[in-house]
Symmetry: C2
Subunit: 112 residues, 2 copies
Amino acid sequence: MAINNELFKGTLQTIILNLLSENERMYGYEITQKVKFITQGELLLKEGALYPALHKLEADGLLETSTEVVDNRVRKYYSLSKDGEKKVVSKLQEAKDFITQLQLLLNLKPNI
Amino acid sequence: MAINNELFKGTLQTIILNLLSENERMYGYEITQKVKFITQGELLLKEGALYPALHKLEADGLLETSTEVVDNRVRKYYSLSKDGEKKVVSKLQEAKDFITQLQLLLNLKPNI
DNA sequence: TTTATATACATAGATAGATTATGTATATAA
DNA sequence: TTATATACATAATCTATCTATGTATATAAA
């Protein structure tokens, strides 16, 4: 059962940046499949969300691109820029804090 | 210091329902203060977000209201309806799944 | 042979949950 | 008298995401 995508609002940039921090370079379609695989189909990353997000991250100077033709189809590869490498660190910390606060608010914090 | 409120999009209803599931009845201002206290000021719940959310939950039949005058000021108390009590269970499970998926996607080990 | 599915990119328009700003009103501390 | 806290509410705006649509190639199924 796919969970409410609405909840992932605001986390997409962090997810993209994190995937690129551990994969060197990825193209859009690959990212959608990777997310689908990791979440076992629970989160389906839509093109209408992904591509505008990638374009924005590139416009902000966090991603760099290069295109390749594979099997007569164009692939646009994305990789982290220097700024992107810095950004992913702060974005991950922000996500950690968010999860902690949400667990506090919902009494989901596991007892230690 | 305060973390990006953007991340909490979609979680507000769950937060409200959960607070009411453990407090019997609460009024709006009380909810904002409770959230502020629990998160130690990290999450500031704005009136522009809270009141429309409360009205929507009431319109959806998940909350019931009663007003009281305290110190010459009107308080509108909210409490869970029967439907609300059911809803909070599924909403909490949804939030748990969301956190799990997000931790998977960001390589954040759940703290045990 | 036609159709459906997978791969691969992109964007326009609509949606919805938030933010910002503003409004009313009372009580109390500076 | 001024600022802050309490207590409600809504209008206008923002923006990230979704839905829908478009182009194009390769391949498997009907």
